[in-house]
């Protein structure tokens, strides 16, 4: 049934429907609404789950690592500083191969203090071994959370469902909150491959000397390489039940496009309007919405972007001393391809600044009118 709910609560509803058994979180704006609703569900008996209150995000992740090791379905959510504080345990969760699902609301890092949209927090965690899925709207974030459990539990890797601060987390939209029965058909109870048990005790996570460590890491990568295929399979099953599909990437009018704009998150919705407007003026423009960032969908990137003349990447993030992070990854994916169009990197909308249709149009025209690439990144919309 469709309900008008905010993006945060779309996540909470998905977690409820996924029958998560243990949750632990520490409040931080703009994530708090997600776990606020879940703690109420635990308190009023809507969910048969334990909500562990902890003193920090580091402990929240530690708590769900413990619970997940015991073979139960887990959830946590965080943002920005909280995610940064979790960093050590993000590595642990992935290398311990625990299918934890976390909602991460993209928020800028301090100082100066800023609670608004910025992707640098989640992208700074790209090497931790977590699967990262970026969402565009309330429906997608609900659906992706449900899919995340199927994916995580199939591959034994943790999944981060990423969403924009406020533009998504605090925006009310009509969202189809599916019936429990349908969700149960899609998402069966968790049958763990790792489950510590007091009646058959064993130890996990202990010393791994040089003769085994590399193989363990190689296994994580082998698992990561299987993710796109498994994700597609999960989506197909999801589509059969719910008639909705997203894909690891979504291409819009890319087939004959000369310039393809690469966007993520809620900016994709704005970009859809912009390219439709440009197409009406006979501009050969397309859009690629990047949903899956880890594992990076190199094959799809090569297939869809390799044919264009120019690529314009919109990054709401920045790696200091280098460039926008999505642009870097796309350049890296294309450089060994037969065709590698120039990648124009644009930095926009940091710290909650709006990425308006005007900004995206400006990016398009700049890309079209620049014969050569002058800078790895162009900062758009800076005040004089």
């Amino acid at each position: 049934m469709k309900q008008v709910i905010e993006g945060s609560h779309a996540v909470s509803e998905a977690v409820r429907l996924a029958k998560v058994q243990v949750m632990s979180a520490y409040p931080i704006t703009p994530q708090t609404h997600i776990v606020e609703a879940l703690s109420e569900y635990c308190a009023d008996g809507t969910m048969n789950a334990r909500f562990l209150c902890v003193e920090s995000e580091h402990s929240a992740m530690a708590a769900v690592i413990g619970a997940s090791s015991a073979g139960v379905r887990t959830f946590t959510a965080t943002s920005s500083q909280g995610l940064a504080l979790m960093h050590e345990l993000l590595h642990w969760a992935a290398a311990a191969r625990l299918p934890i699902v976390m909602a991460e609301v993209n928020r800028a890092l301090a100082p100066g203090w800023n609670i608004w949209m910025d992707q640098t927090d989640s992208l700074a965690q790209r090497d931790t071994g977590w699967i990262q899925l970026y969402c565009e709207d309330g429906q997608e974030v609900l659906d992706t959370t449900l899919q995340a459990y199927r994916l995580a539990e199939a591959i034994n890797l943790p999944v981060m469902v990423v969403m924009d601060a406020f533009f998504l987390s605090h925006t009310f939209e009509p969202v189809d909150v599916p019936d429990q029965e349908l969700v149960d058909r899609f998402l069966p109870p968790f049958s763990p491959r790792i489950e510590i048990n007091t009646s058959d005790p064993f130890a996990i996570g202990q010393m791994a000397p040089p003769n085994v460590y590399m193989e363990m890491r190689h296994d994580i990568q082998k698992a990561m390489e299987l993710v796109p295929g498994i994700f597609t399979g999960v989506e197909q099953e999801f589509t059969k039940i719910f008639s909705r599909t997203y894909g690891p990437v979504e291409k819009v009018l890319c087939n004959d496009a000369e310039i393809i704009m690469v966007v993520t998150g809620t900016a994709a919705s704005t970009c859809r309007e912009v390219i439709s407007d440009l197409r009406s003026k006979d501009e050969k423009v397309g859009m690629l919405k990047l949903k899956m960032f880890r594992p990076f969908p190199t094959d799809l990137i090569r297939e869809y972007l390799g044919r264009a003349k120019k690529i314009a990447v919109v990054d709401r993030n920045f790696s200091f001393g280098a460039s926008g992070i999505f642009a870097q990854e796309i350049r890296a994916a294309l450089c060994n391809n037969n065709t590698h169009p120039p990648v124009f990197g644009y930095i926009a909308g940091l710290g909650g600044r709006d990425v308006t249709p005007e900004i995206l149009s400006e990016i398009y025209w700049k890309t079209k009118n620049s014969p050569i690439l002058e800078n790895e990144s162009v900062w758009v919309g800076l005040l004089d």
């Binding site: 290398a95 311990a96 191969r97 199939a154 591959i155 034994n156 491959r193 790792i194 005790p201 064993f202 130890a203 996990i204 996570g205 202990q206 010393m207 791994a208 085994v212 193989e215 363990m216 190689h218 296994d219 082998k222 698992a223 299987l226 796109p228 295929g229 498994i230 597609t232 399979g233 999960v234 197909q236």
Partner: protein, 579 residues
């Protein structure tokens, strides 16, 4: 794109995992410091003249084990219901809880336990040693004499207490007014002492002659007569004033008759306050005359405040110089005084006459309560001379038989609890005297000190669990405050001022069970284990073993991280270096 989903077994999942027990890894070998259960002394117990194990008493009450709590008190003090009412509670002054919010209401809790706990009396009172064939003559059935008898009985002595009055109790029975200490409370606690085996012979004033003859029958003597005779002012017309102590005695004897009009009470001690407050209850308008300042009064501050609340007027810096009769009333002439730069031997500011100004106060009755002295010279403890042993709360003289002097006459503070301490110290001193000889008395007592003393513990003397407790007094800084949250002190119900001045009914009520529970929860239980289990819960090596309610450290695995010691909220553990 391949849409086929792999079977779970095909997903690579190589992780560290082992079914071999980690018990082989004896992390205890890493250790260079080792934790130990190490109980320490709570400040309250060290400040209590009777050395009560307060931290443990509050722990037991909090567990609802009121009889065990009472038993624990009775190891050190036979008068919980009395002390819960009249003790000046130095324990609360040093309570660590004050660092967080307010001190624990220890005296209210002691009264609650004394009034509430019940059970077989013989099971509540301490175990007695078998009779050793020695008899002790105790003179005076006040708190010190009764305590000496109680503790000596415990140690196997047969005791006879001789009392001049018709009933035992001394100041408890005859001096303290009923609104502070009801007769029934005194009677019930004395009955317990009698049931414990102490013989009290009333209506028998002791004389020097009697003592001489008694030396044949008794192996030791305890003299605890207190102050029986009021001091004189030595001013003209003094014989027209009434004696405050006698007045209080007559009230306790049941002679309660209305007194109308005005009355002056001369003095600044607890007796003067008791007289003034009693007068108010009988209907008189009482004015207290004190030659020093209000803050110099030896009476307990709380008592002075209550007196003022009940309508007693205080005239400070006035010294009586004459009493004259005038038309059936009395005129009290008063010299105005002022403070000087000099101090008395006791450290109080000396006051001197302020010019020649004389004031006159016309009243219908005058009472004196300026202090008291022993009623016979033989009751005085001997002064400094060879062969006399001056202990903190009693004086030992003579060898055959030994004479112990105790009570108010030897005590540093003239309080009921100090009198109890005196009786206890005398009992221990007599026992050491007979078992090890006179030379061993001081050293023997030093093993029984609570903290750094002077309070003594009979439980320690008997070789109980307190013997192993460290004398380190737990400070606020030793407490892990993370485990406590602010909670105000529970206040007991009390009668409104307007009502209390109409009768001798007790002003304050005993705690209810729920009040007592709330208040005992506030106690930090400084220095003692209350089985909170933090040490076991937090041990990262699961090296704390709980067996038969006792905790011990498994040194095979304890790596000496010290987390248990740090997380102990009450400093009942310690770390020591490995040797």
């Amino acid at each position: 794109m391949a849409a086929k989903q792999k079977h779970a077994e095909q997903i690579p999942l190589f992780i560290s995992r082992s079914n071999i027990s980690t018990e082989i890894n004896k992390t205890g070998s890493w250790r260079f410091v080792r934790p130990k259960y190490h109980e320490k002394t709570a400040p309250c117990s060290a400040a209590c003249p009777a050395g009560e194990d307060i931290a443990r008493i509050e722990m037991l009450s909090n567990q609802g084990r009121y009889s065990d709590a009472l038993k624990t008190i009775l190891l050190e003090n036979p008068f919980p219901s009395v002390c819960g009412r009249v003790c000046f509670h130095p324990c609360e002054t040093v309570c660590n809880r004050a660092g967080l919010d307010d001190p624990v209401a220890i005296h209210d809790l002691e009264r609650f336990i004394g009034d509430t706990a019940d059970g077989d009396e013989l099971k509540l009172t301490p175990k007695k040693l078998p009779e050793n064939g020695k008899t002790v003559c105790i003179v005076g059935a006040g708190p010190s004499g009764l305590s000496a008898g109680y503790f000596l009985s415990q140690l196997g002595y047969v005791c006879d207490i001789y009392e001049a009055q018709s009933e035992p109790g001394g100041i408890l029975r005859w001096g303290i007014p009923g609104y502070r200490l009801p007769n029934a409370v005194v009677a019930s606690e004395i009955r317990r002492i009698i049931n414990f085996g102490v013989k009290i012979i009333c209506n028998t004033p002791v004389t020097q002659d009697f003592l001489e003859k008694a030396k044949v029958r008794y192996h030791a003597f305890f003299i605890g007569c207190g102050y029986g005779r009021s001091l004189k002012m030595n001013i003209p017309g003094e014989n027209m004033a009434l004696d405050g102590l006698e007045f209080l005695n007559s009230l306790r004897d049941g002679k309660i008759e209305p007194i109308n009009g005005t009355a002056a009470v001369i003095g600044g001690g607890n007796t003067a306050i008791d007289v003034a407050r009693s007068l108010v209850r009988l209907g008189a308008a009482a004015t207290l005359i004190y030659r020093r300042r209000k803050q110099d009064m030896p009476a307990f501050k709380a008592e002075v405040e209550m007196a003022v609340k009940e309508g007693v007027k205080i005239k400070e810096l006035f010294s009586p110089i004459r009493i004259k009769e005038d038309a059936g009333e009395y005129v009290l002439s008063l010299q105005l005084m002022k403070t000087s730069d000099m101090k008395t031997d006791g450290g109080r500011v000396r006051v001197i006459p302020d010019g020649k100004a004389i004031r006159h106060l016309r009243v219908q009755k005058i009472f004196t309560a300026i202090g008291a002295e022993p009623s016979a010279s033989w009751q005085f403890p001997p002064g400094e001379h060879t062969g006399t042993l001056h202990l903190s709360h009693c004086t030992l003289t003579g060898n055959n038989p030994p004479f112990l002097y105790g009570g108010d006459l030897t005590n540093p503070i003239k309080s009921v609890t100090d009198a109890i301490a005196s009786g206890k110290q005398a009992a221990m001193a007599i026992d050491i005297f007979f078992n090890q000889g006179r030379h061993a008395v001081e050293n023997g007592l030093s093993f029984c000190l609570v903290g750094k003393g002077p309070a003594l513990s009979m439980e320690r003397y008997m070789g109980g669990k307190r013997s192993v407790r460290d004398s380190h007094i737990v400070s606020y800084g030793d407490i892990n405050i993370d485990y406590f949250s602010m909670a105000g002190r529970v206040k007991t119900a009390s009668i409104e001022v307007n009502h209390r001045i109409r009768s001798f009914d007790e002003i304050e009520a005993t705690f209810t069970i729920s009040q007592a529970m709330e208040e005992t929860r506030r106690c930090f239980n400084c220095g003692i284990c209350n089985a909170c289990d933090n040490c076991r819960i937090f041990c990262p090596e699961i090296a704390v073993i709980l067996q038969d309610s006792e905790r011990r450290i498994n040194l095979d695995y304890c790596k000496g991280c010290g987390i248990c010691v740090f997380e102990c909220p009450r400093n009942a553990m310690g770390l020591e270096e490995e040797s």
